[in-house]
Amino acid sequence: MRYTPHTEAERQAMLKAIGVERIEDLFADIPAQVRFPSLDLPEGMSELEAQRLFAALAAENATVATHPCFLGAGAYYHFTPALLTHLLFRGEFYTAYTPYQPEISQGTLQVIFEFQTLVCQLTGMDVANASMYDGSTALAEAALMAVRLTRSRRTRLLISEAVHPEYRDVVATYSQGMDIELVPIPFDRRNGTTDVEAVRAALNEHTAALIVQYPNFFGQIEPLGQLGELIHGVGGHFVVSADPVALGLLKPPGDFGADIVTAEGQSLGIPLMYGGPYVGLFATRMKHVRQMPGRVAGQTVDIEGRRGFVLTLQAREQHIRREKATSNICTNEALIATAVTIYLSAVGRHGLRQVANLCYHKAHYLAQRLTALDGYELAFEGPFVREFAVRTPVPPAELNRYLWETHGIIGGYDLERAYPELKNHWLLTATEMNARADIDRLVEAVAGYPGSPAPSR
């Protein structure tokens, strides 16, 4: 298949206009010894053949749409309303690019403005950007911004070990070239939240920020009020990576004085897609806006006085400020931000609360049934929303294998993968996609695992 429409006659006419004989003549500036290498690649195919080839590849994957799934750990299976896909694939959104020309990009610009507003409403913050790559890079950019907010006089960052392990890795990667000291803060083994005393002990006048996750990687709700006070007490900044679905229920980080709030937006109607594209949400205080990374849309008027939207505060961005920019981000996740905007509009105030409630009650039902089995107990005390850790009498990796092979169930996340000290700890999630019957099936399957005791009703 080719998408080059010229006929041979047109091609010849164009070459003639240029004054060369063959297309190859247009490459005389390439050193001859490396020009036109042979590519060891197969020939192309028609659309029909491609459809068949890729349908066969897709069929080699087992999907969460056809198998009950209890995995979360940073990516969650939620409902996507049909209208979302329909609207998102409109070519006017889909095949446009960055709205550099506002007169013909009001659609994208207004969507960004609405997205920024929704992110602020959800997080309780003043101002949000037009998106980052994902939740992890949003958090890494927040860490760098927190250092900038101290004019780089402070370079010590405290990061809770109850933050998603991959997010912590990304923060570490992003800090590599800078002289940043990353101090890991352990979590309390009793309630699974950031160890407040360890924070207190680690704070000093060089500390730029404290970074926590809300609810954290184990699903536990961090005491944001207490943590915020501690970090503000030494004049540092409070950075919170939040779960937007939980914010349908929980007090937003903005209410606790957070200085920067980031989030992975995937839970808001975005399919799992094996990890991406997702979208990073990024919000802060108005007084910090000039250090915020990424694009931002603002409201203005046109020469006839009509309301319109433009990209603004661009003096922070790479195309204007180059090495002094607040980030190198250029292409962001606009379409996924659009999807989030559509989703939050479609479910609205009532619907998001309903989603959060469904998650909450289903996760608790699952927890209650599972911990009724001998040898299974909640790993931590204190409230959670849609995700929780249980101690298991057998290694979760073996449980997961058994569940998959004998029941076609996709089990939970084995916490030992990232926390060697959490042997036999299993992280499970339930959302509105997990029907009661699936939850019951999981529990019965676990009960039937050779070596597990039967449910004690």
Binding site: T4, M14, L83, V127, Y274, T300, I329
Partner: protein
Amino acid sequence: MPNTYGFVPREPLIFEHSVPGRRGVELPPLDVPEAELPPEEYLRDELPLPEVSETDVVRHFTRLSQLNFAVDIGFYPLGSCTMKYNPKVNDAIANLAGFLHLHPYQDETTVQGILRLMYELQAWLGEIAGLPAVTLQPSAGAHGELTGVLIIHAYHTSKGRRRHVILVPDSAHGTNPATVAMVGYRTVSIPTGADGNMDLDALKAALNEDVAGLMITNPSTLGLFEEHILEVAEAIHSVDGLIYMDGANMNAMVGVAKPGDLGMDILHYNLHKTFSVPHGGGGPGAGATAVRADLARFLPVPVVAKEGDRYYLDYDRPESIGRVRAFYGNVNNMVRGYVYMRMLGREGLEDMSRTAVLNANYIRVQLQDLYDLPYDRICKHEVVFSGKRQAKKGVRTLDIAKRLIDFGIHPPTIYFPLIVEEALMIEPTETESKATLDHFIAVMRRIAEEAEIDPDTVRSAPHVTPVRRLDEARAARRPVLRWTPEGAS
């Protein structure tokens, strides 16, 4: 407030459609017993989201979409962005349930299809680059740059030294120096010579043992192939620096020259440019990064590997720079890019780059009598003019750009390269027909004429858009960055 003016939408904000108590999409009822909610102090009392109906939502976003220009509507020669046609089959395949509904932590045995796709894509990108080791993790071009510069940093660290400088030509895109700064390096800018090539003498003068590497875009953002590239590579390697090639312009290079053969050590691709992944109003993209075999050890974890006929995620890479994001990258966009590559195949990919270059040169020769051509030689996939001549008549490049809109054409890139005064960076891409190019040429010629005899028409453009020129100074001076109930207009 009227929603339309004739059929031109005037669309309020979604918040302005909101009515207390209105419901949108319904969710299923609770089918398990209710648990006790957490104590009051954890719960938010208000959730200030909009309350609208499903019909409101569909009309709102449909109307907003109609305020946009896009590749599906018309010619979009936005230089450096490669706004080619996005085949619909890419999306049909990317939306198959077997690609859409996969959790990133599913067991590898249950996702062999997607792992195989990623593995093969790595191999194709490696072959085209002549740089065999590939990571698919970067989310976009600039993220690929960050990955690449971190690899440069890791390379020098592995040799037990710390260097402080990265050389960047003055024609570079803003992401290059911004990336350099993010890794804690200092940018030293290398000027461009009168022939559009990097000034070799200046490059050599800037070289010393503190230079960690060079970031170069080739073809450059002037749309020109860097003719002394082999010498440049030799010079950088003589101080054991590494060369990062910004592959934003790979649409000119596939099957034309392999960056690896040109002495490049690291390259990023923008799958959303070269391989037809749609731009989505600003993203998401996908920014795969390819490196020389001996630099493979520094790639982010994990990479997709194969043992026998089993595909797996390889985390066992002790010298890795670490992750640059959670999970494995913008996987669904990798599907789109790979579908495109497979359909084109070897010959189709070669034809792609050659035709892209043909189209740009066709525009070059048809407009160079009316628009100033700062570097008068064969161009690659894009041609950069200067609007200097028109500026003398008081018509700026910005005005020319806005006037193009009146003729149903998206303006070229005008915000860079910074070294060309009043730059007009035109990238037609290979998917445009001769008829479209001829129309564009005719419009550009007409605008050049208008600049002479009727400059006001150009200066007041666009004339037929939903809004006219917007007050950007006001937006920056008094930022209104979100809707509030109080500030409702």
